[in-house]
Symmetry: C2
Subunit: 348 residues, 2 copies
């Protein structure tokens, strides 16, 4: 790799002049400089430039898991904007782990101009070191409890969950199982709250036995579903608050042989690419995933460009109900007898 000095020597000018030419200013020997640049196939060193300028033209994107379709979509949104801005993106998975998140965030200091973060837990603020270092941060999809002076792009999880519950209630369901996420995450908490609010609005008490906590991963949705099926008085519907757990739930129902929606209705939060093609097509609370990423990157760009004083922005996008056919009236409205308990108490 050739340096600016070699270019300068070849063109017979100083490095200053080459640097000026590079930054687009008028230069007497522009032609000669350009020729030398091309002859040597010169490319300015990003590293040296960063050292001098303090700008890396790189951002960090810290998410729980790329293989979750929602985060993959959001990442794509982030990436599409960052490409236009000619920014590179560091991608890191935290696997929902607070420790991993801390070490990842630590490692980003001094390497990036900003960070888009999906925090693993609302309570655990791993951003202090980053913020002390003056790195702008935008929160994506999840909040941090201790912090409200960071931009964020969330969805109306409460409203979405409310809608989901309302949908099931409207069909006549009264015993609705909830596969919930960690209550220490924003979506976990808000979706739980929205669900409960809808039930209470309908005058229904929430039975704690019907709320099964998961960790946003497939396996936990599977296990939670088995627990719900094993209840002495089974549920007639299940609302799963995230896509991966919904997949787990569907798998469990499939393996146990519960027919959807005849015996049990299912609705999930977050659409699945194949949601429409499932048997039956899955009803979901959908949301603009790519757009969330796009907006987060736009907010981050504004901060990076130095609008520090500007009011913090908290964008909340709307969800919508995509009713397909995995939800139907509960079986006991057609058939007065509750279905047999398919899973024995010892099954898990």
């Amino acid at each position: 790799m050739s340096t600016i000095g070699e270019v300068a020597k070849l063109a017979g000018v100083s490095t200053t002049t080459v640097s000026r030419h590079l930054s687009g200013r008028q230069v007497r020997e522009a032609a000669a400089v350009q020729a030398s640049i091309e002859a040597l196939d010169f490319r300015a060193s990003h590293v040296a430039r960063s050292l001098k300028s303090g700008v890396t033209r790189t951002i960090g994107l810290v998410i729980p898991d790329v293989s979750n379709p929602f985060f993959a979509a959001a990442a794509k949104g982030v990436e599409s904007v960052s490409r236009q801005l000619d920014l590179n993106v560091f991608l890191s998975n935290t696997d929902e782990s607070v420790e991993r998140e801390r070490s990842v965030l630590q490692g980003l200091i001094g390497r990036v101009d900003g960070v888009i973060l999906v925090p693993a837990r609302e309570e655990s603020d791993n951003t202090v070191a980053l913020r002390r270092a003056g790195v702008p941060i935008v929160l994506l999809d999840r909040r941090l409890r201790a912090v409200d002076d960071l931009d964020s792009v969330l969805v109306d999880s409460h409203g979405g969950a409310f809608m989901a519950a309302e949908h099931l209630l409207g069909l006549g369901h009264r015993r609705i199982g909830l596969i919930s996420g960690p209550s220490e995450t924003t979506p976990g908490r808000e979706r739980y709250d929205g669900f409960v609010a809808a039930l209470e609005a309908a005058g229904i008490d929430v039975d704690p036995a019907l709320v099964q906590m998961g960790d946003f991963k497939v396996e936990s949705g599977y296990q939670a579903t088995l627990r719900l099926l094993g209840l002495p008085m089974p549920v007639t519907a299940i609302f799963s608050v995230n896509n991966l757990m919904t997949i787990g739930a569907l798998r469990a129902l499939h393996h146990v042989g519960v027919r959807v929606p005849d015996e049990l209705s299912v609705i999930g939060f977050d659409d699945l690419e194949l949601g429409e093609l499932l048997s039956p097509p899955l009803s979901v609370i959908a949301r603009p995933a790519v757009e969330q990423g796009v907006l987060a990157m736009r907010l981050l760009r504004n901060r990076i460009q130095g609008n520090w004083t500007e009011e913090r922005q908290h964008i909340v996008l709307d969800t919508h109900l995509t009713a397909r056919s995995s939800c139907a009236p509960p079986p006991n409205t057609r058939d007065r007898h509750a279905p047999a308990n398919r899973v024995s108490a010892g099954a898990y």
Copy 2:
């Protein structure tokens, strides 16, 4: 952010000593230096370090599309290894575009110690600049025609496609539609070849009308399927060579109302997270996606660590048939009449 100089001053030693302490060497005032480091919350600047050492501790991962589950899985594999090695990962999508790939690769020069690349096209070698700059490259999932001195981690696409075709032939299918990928990509070409080889081994001529070219994206699978359904003499089975196009195919069949596998059998290359839960469960050629990423990262690490002379490695992983129930004997073995042509010629 504090610098090594401030630490040195506080500890009453030279920057040299601090630097030595940092790199783990024995130092007289180790305790004082360490105390100063902690007091100032000092972290060595990666940028300055990179400038001096020429090492960035960063790699580039250039793939067509993160929202393709295969690439997401491979990315996760890459990321898991790179985390252990304490390397950062630049993620970039090329969207299957050669131009985008070129600009992305250009932008990586001087920023990374190595690159894992899924080339957009076999013919278009965008790696020359990178290689001239001495950046190690590992090819993932796809080859480059002009280049055989790069490590690669592929799957046995030919064998997988052969298996898929064999599976359908074994069930009695003779008119099999192929939704093929761009022939200028390794998977596109090899899967086509494997498919053709199986047909020829069975003594069947390949009817060009039954081969519909797609571009690895959902929409093209959808369109290709409509074309296959619109044929004067329709196919009894479809083999789709990639997951996204398979999704498109399934959507088309769903919209048109073709029953699988009663009227038409379907098999895809690459498993889908929900493959098992589709109606019917989808038969696929599966492969170890995460492992492909893991192996690619391991190969890259070896190159980065300077084993330049070492023989180039071309790893080819095996695929396997996951037979679920989207493939069955063709309808005409049960019912002598071919099914009615569901799509009119003008439908697309």
